[in-house]
Symmetry: C2
Subunit: 514 residues, 2 copies
């Protein structure tokens, strides 16, 4: 066993890894195959290992239970399997395990801790310079976001035309020195001049991404990893089925042991004419087979939804289809798909020319509240023009907007929700009312908890009337000013005075037992 290197102890839900040396000649990425079978008291999984360059092979595993695990490794360049053991210890502070779907429409970490998603998007933050990445991480440390949505492949798009810091495959890109902001559209999807060996992943690229994954994990941020996307001049959106599968298997073998990875099969899948639904379904099937941990899986649309009712899809990852209504549709999508509704793109706070990137902090915050009070989860992004050309939505860096601290406030309110999350509740036609998802009290009967949001409306007061002897603790929430005002205990018919401003909410918590 002298040539196996691995730790004998690992934290539950952490990455356990074994490495060993093997052949370097030919193409080790494709010529050889290594696997591991891991068996503990409560689970047994076979996983793929991967070649990490320089003659090093690795096999990773994430134990989901405490206790002793035995493993058995196989490599086609070995004559015999190699075996060993390690012990998975208790999860440490901040390690709650992978996020799972819980209560049909919500999420919880595997240890049962509710996960109220407040996501943001920085599409290629990890492919920027070290100093820019450092800035992003610094910003994330100060912000409420607990999910980061980003791409593995480099991005060719408005405001993001420079080359990435490194490439996922060996080779060289087209000459992009003639690319300008004005002619970039002509290069989109044109792949002449790229020279990639798509059978040779670039281990340095993946090691770098892993470093970024760890940095997110340290900050309690889930990694919503986009595997394919259409913003491309390198040709990675136009690989063959075989190349796609090879890439996918390599990615899964490297990343699936990271507890906080979510698989977003694609961003704007419907802008990739080279791929059919059959292609996506094939990739999804293999993803399900290769990922032994059942990480969350989704696929994100531009103009038309993927069929989110497909069994492999764990939650809806939605770009809103309407310029005006986004979070407001959450209830309909919940009803239709019977899955968590994550509105990853509902327009970004910013001031660029595009309608998807120039709404106000007020409007983005409003959309978050609309979504939350209808039992869904919205996503943040920021697109302010900046002298250094760095836009959060693409490059990460620094935030300039008004919404993030309001989203932190929203998160605080959501964390107060009893149970796993909220569901929409028909209180009045002109409010957005939520009650706990797990409320077993039938609609029409007095609930234990109401969160009522008034959106753009500006009532001077709202009247309530409860027929029973329920007593409520009444709080008035200014979602913009981020204040909570105690209004004492009320029962029966009562009026709650409001300041006739937009973005107000009322929280009613029953203090006696119904």
């Amino acid at each position: 066993m002298e040539n196996l290197s691995y730790p004998s102890q690992v934290e539950k839900w952490d990455v356990w890894e074994v490495s060993f040396r093997g052949p370097m000649d030919g193409n080790p990425f494709t010529d050889h195959h290594v696997t591991g079978v891991f068996t503990g008291k409560n689970e047994s999984h076979q996983v793929d290992g991967f070649y990490d360059g320089d003659g090093v092979y690795r096999v990773r595993f994430m134990p989901s239970f405490e206790g002793t695990y035995s493993f058995c490794l196989h490599a086609d360049f070995w004559e015999e399997e190699k075996k060993g053991q390690f012990v998975a210890g208790p999860a440490k502070k901040g390690n709650h395990g992978p996020v799972r779907v819980a209560g049909t429409y919500h999420f919880a970490y595997e240890d049962g801790t509710p996960y109220d998603s407040i996501g943001t998007t920085c599409y290629v933050w990890e492919l920027q310079s070290d100093s820019q990445i450092e800035k992003t991480l610094q910003t994330l440390s100060e912000q409420p976001f607990n999910k980061m949505r980003f791409c593995l492949f480099p991005k060719h798009y408005d405001y993001n035309l420079h080359e990435p810091r490194c490439y996922p495959f060996e080779g060289t890109p087209m000459d992009s020195s003639v690319l300008t902001p004005d002619n970039f559209a002509a290069y989109t999807g044109k792949t002449d001049g790229n020279h990639w060996d798509l059978a040779r992943p670039n281990p340095a690229f993946f090691r770098h991404v892993e470093k970024c994954l760890y940095a997110l994990r340290e900050r309690g941020i889930e990694a919503d990893l986009i595997l394919w996307h259409p913003y491309d001049r390198w040709g990675f959106s136009q690989m063959t089925r075989e190349q796609d599968l090879f890439y996918l298997r390599y990615v899964v073998s490297r990343f699936s042991a990271f507890r906080h990875v979510w698989w977003s099969l694609a961003n704007e899948y419907d802008l990739m004419p080279q791929k059919s639904i059959e292609d996506w379904e094939c990739l999804a099937t293999r993803l399900c087979r290769w990922d032994p941990y059942g990480h969350l899986r989704s696929i994100h649309n531009c103009l038309r939804f993927y069929d989110h009712s497909r069994p492999w899809i764990t939650h809806c990852s939605i770009q809103r289809l309407d310029l005006y209504k986004s979070g407001e549709m959450t209830g309909e999508w919940r009803a239709r798909y019977q899955k968590p509704v994550v509105l990853d793109e509902i327009a970004y706070e910013g001031n660029i020319q595009h309608g998807w990137g120039n709404i106000s902090g007020e409007e983005l915050t409003r959309r978050f509240w609309e979504t939350a009070c209808r039992g869904g989860y919205a996503g943040h992004g920021e697109t302010y023009l900046s002298p250094d050309g760095m836009l959060w939505w693409s490059h990460g860096g620094t935030l300039h907007g008004d919404s993030p601290k309001r989203l932190a406030f929203l998160h605080r309110i959501l964390c107060e929700t009893p149970g796993l999350g909220l569901k929409p509740y028909p209180l009045s036609w002109d409010d957005v009312c939520a009650v706990p998802e797990n409320s077993l009290i039938p609609p029409g009967q007095t609930q234990d908890y109401y969160l009522i949001y008034y959106s753009f409306m500006r009532p001077s007061f709202r009247d309530f009337h409860f027929d029973d002897d329920s007593v409520f603790d009444v709080r008035v929430i200014d979602t913009w000013e981020m204040t909570v005002e105690e209004r004492g205990h009320k029962s029966g018919a009562f009026r709650v005075e409001l300041p006739a401003k937009p973005y107000m909410a009322i929280q009613l918590r029953r203090v006696n037992k119904g």
Copy 2:
């Protein structure tokens, strides 16, 4: 002819009236019938006269052409018809005739002057005290509104529980002294205690309304007269078919000669369970028969649209069905009904508790622009709580809001539109673009005039690209600050810088011929 009193000269489109004495015994309203046949060079109409109390009968006529008219009056209490003549002279300044549908989706006065409707609603302004009415008229003189929507019957509704100044029929109302803001719902639709003779209209009531009609006419304001509505404790919403027809015929005989009257058959027709679609269709059929001038006719919904495709309906009078989208639906409704789309209720600027009455001036103005740039017409209303209990939407009086002067500004921009009005134009997915309705230039080819609205979005710039040699006069409009900034002449590919604020618009006017 000594007992006929009438003028020998009248202005075209003005009210010509003849009066004479007749029987006072029995019930002159129902016992007797007077009619007139009016014949000029270009038209001949039979109209109903009416009893105006105190033994006086009147017949009114609105000539639509200049020249000599002969008339022939018939009364069942005369042995012989009586004849006479008068001359219709040219319309004076400010008299453009009745408003008609023009260009399928728009309006014009009968003399061809385009009519860009900027309506407001004060449901029972005319049933308030003299001083309140005076205030309303003073306010209207200073405001842009060119249509006033109001009810003929008194209104029983939140914030409007007091008795009207007078009643449309002889009799006495229920005792309302026990009515309070808290118990008013219990009185809604309960009609016990009213004592009306529904076969005896109250001439003083109608003469008062006529005075108000004249006051609107003087100010160039169309009267969108609501004939039935559900906010009732007097029973006028629950009359029999026969009583309804009698009331309708009396109203038409009195008011149809007023050129600026529009017939709104009902407000929120669908909140009147006593009436079926068949009832409304019957009333509409008679209205068409009895009104010889073909005034505009509509019927307004609450929760579900009337079928606006019915032939008697001249234009859609819409209350928006969605809390979030109102003016944004204009294009769909144009396409569906092929008639002018008037959004009479898209929520009011104010701060009352109800979601239909507490949006901001910004939001109401935005909805007007959305509607206008999609080729429709929105309606204003104001519901600010006021120490004197007077809310514009119900009582008229004084305006407190931010939107009216912005609506005046919008009206000014609309008046610049070539032709009759605007139609929606597919320029970009993230703007609201209008071109003149009568543009004959196919979509995709360069138009002569674009009005492009950015709504809540906040672009820092927008890029344009025209393939031909068109030269445009470019103006940047701040619809909230009410400024117009000249940006000079542009052609080909050009960028228009914008201040990254909401509520901006760009106007492009082609200055060379395409």
